[in-house]
Amino acid sequence: MGATISRLSEKPNLWPWLLLAPLAIYLAIFFLVPLIDVAIMSFTEPRLSIANYQKVLTGALYQKVFLNTFMTAALVTLACLCVGYPLAYLMNASKPRTAMLILLLVTMSFWTSFLVRTYAWMVLLGNNGPIVAFLRAVGFETPPQLLFTRFSSTLAMVHILAPYMIMNIYSVMRKIDPVLIRSAESLGARGFSLFRHVYLPLTAPGIANGCVLVFVICLGFYVTPVLLGSPREQMIAGLIGHQIEEFLAFGMGSAMAMVLLAITLAILAIYHRRFGLDKLWG
């Protein structure tokens, strides 16, 4: 509508550029330059070559870590979906008050520092913790080692990332018009077929959103796998940190970081083409 076009925007003017310039310059210097630094280091440390990439892409150790990272991320995403979908459904189906309380809990979990949550899992799964105590009580003489395994880090990551999934799915579910479900029922859809043909397609955008978000965050997750995972089953981020901190191997660390970045951006680019990146965090 003509009436909504502002007077300023009719002729090209400098205002938007002036307003945008400080941030653009800032991001160029303090965001892009460090990234370019990583790219350069991946080729120049310790000397100019593509040896780092050759090692990262073909070395058995690195391949194993990449594979492990992918498997873990996929597993965490799947688990988040299995945990998140039923809860979102339950929230949507329950009374406003109950839904509100569950939402408060999820939000609180979301806002609680993930270091705190990681620590809590350490307590829960520790050798003096309640789960081991429970296992002892029901007859396990020597309970299995829970902490510092792939199990503990995966479980904690599911817990940390589940709120992303729940909120994404819930926000889509809440917008589904109940009349639509009722009319589908009146047309003969029930049980699984109702879910398969009505609910699932309608909530698909939320599922896609949640899965992409959880998967991408999980790929680059550093803290929790390092603190709770097994040292023998590292993920990429942990290995990058290890290379830098222990060996000061900036070339290798940078090359791995670039590969991780490329994979992450590729996934997000696919999402961006399909849905638009601003929707992902919206």
């Binding site: 509508m1 003509g2 009436a3 076009i5 007077r7 009719e10």
Partner: protein
């Protein structure tokens, strides 16, 4: 005639699209003028140009002979009521009304007192301390009106202000706005797409279509003597019959469907053989079983009867031409759908639409 507000050849283009084509209009002091037209007809654009939010591509707006073109919106001293009221949500009703006074440097105590008086004038005495969201739609409307009037603007612009209200409240507000406008004598332009609103409130109606003024005249003139086919069709219910002037001296036209048809003497110059449109309002047509002496009679095949209780709308065909007839509720019993009947009118009921 005292020309208070003048629009001189206002043109507005967006790229290739022409939103307004050389709009000329003069408005007298104290007049209540309605801009009427469908959405996209240019009425709101004209309003925004007067207010200064849009810049005309060509042409000028003058108030009392002085051009407004160099003035920013805040320098124009024009009160506006927006469609969604645009009340400041963080200010109470009285603070909203005080705002224009505050901007003009009126001291708080004095300004709030004046704002209170203005609220009382629009019938909201005692509601000053409420926030907009604590007021009903009609009350918000009144606050917006008070705010647009409190600084004694040279012009009041109302942009479809009643659109969001339900029917009863709307009628009440029509009367209310008219009362306040009369009491203050402020020159007012009211934009709407609702013809009944325009009819009931205006001193003068300006009908817009495709960026042009189709007609500017009093409500009765617009209704009874529409100057263009668009106005005839847009205002009220109408039967529009394509015809050709047969004998201009005898006020006779010929139409394929109706045959030779007498029309009311017209002020516009028409010549023999000119193609015109004849306007016959449905309420001026009578329906009967047999022809009535002294009237133009034609036979109509009745297709649909829509009953409204006190009256009914009968739709039928005269040859290929669809005709609509309004009849009183009691009269409708004489015919049924599918039957043939007689419709008739007097020559005075037939108006020649020149364009």
């Amino acid at each position: 005639m005292h020309q208070y507000l003048q629009l001189n050849g206002i043109t507005k283009t967006y790229g290739d699209f022409t939103a307004l084509k050389k709009v000329d209009l003069t408005i007298e002091k104290g007049e209540f003028v309605t801009f009427l037209g469908p959405s996209g007809s240019g009425k709101t654009t004209t309003l925004m140009i007067i207010a200064g939010f849009e810049k005309a591509t060509a042409g000028d707006v003058l108030v009392e002979g002085k051009s407004l073109s160099g003035l920013a919106p805040h320098e124009r001293n024009i009160g506006i009521v927006f469609q969604n009221y645009a009340l400041f949500p963080h200010k109470t009703a009285v603070e909203n009304v005080y705002f224009p006074l505050q901007m003009r440097g009126v001291r708080r105590g004095e300004g709030l007192k004046k704002a209170d008086e203005m609220l009382a004038l629009v019938g909201l005495g005692g509601f000053g301390k409420r926030y907009p969201k604590e007021l009903s739609g009609g009350q918000q409307q009144r606050v917006a009106l008070a705010r647009a009037l409190v600084f004694e603007p040279s012009l009041l612009l109302l942009d479809e202000p009643l659109g969001a209200l339900d029917k009863n409240l709307r009628e009440q507000m029509q009367i209310e706005i008219k009362r306040i406008q009369r009491a203050l004598g402020v020159t007012t332009i009211f934009v709407t797409h609702d013809q009944s609103e325009a009819m009931s409130m205006s001193d003068r109606i300006v009908v817009f279509e495709k960026g042009e003024i189709q007609q500017a005249a009093t409500p009765l003139e617009i209704y009874h003597k529409p100057q263009t086919r668009f106005v005839a069709g847009f205002i009220g219910e109408s039967n529009l019959v394509p015809a050709r002037i047969g004998d201009a001296a005898a006020n006779q036209a010929e139409s394929t469907a109706l045959g030779i048809c007498d029309y009311a003497p017209t002020e516009s110059a028409v010549t023999d053989g000119q193609d015109v449109t004849l306007l016959i309002r449905p309420e001026h047509i009578r329906l009967s079983r047999n022809p009535i002496e002294g009237r133009k009679n034609v036979r109509m095949q009745v297709e649909t009867i829509v009953n409204y209780g006190d009256n009914a709308l009968v739709i039928g065909k005269v040859g290929d031409l669809q005709m609509r007839v309004r009849v009183l509720g009691a009269d409708v019993v004489i015919i049924k759908e599918g039957e043939e009947c007689c419709i008739s009118w007097q020559p005075e009921a037939v108006f020649v639409v020149p364009r």
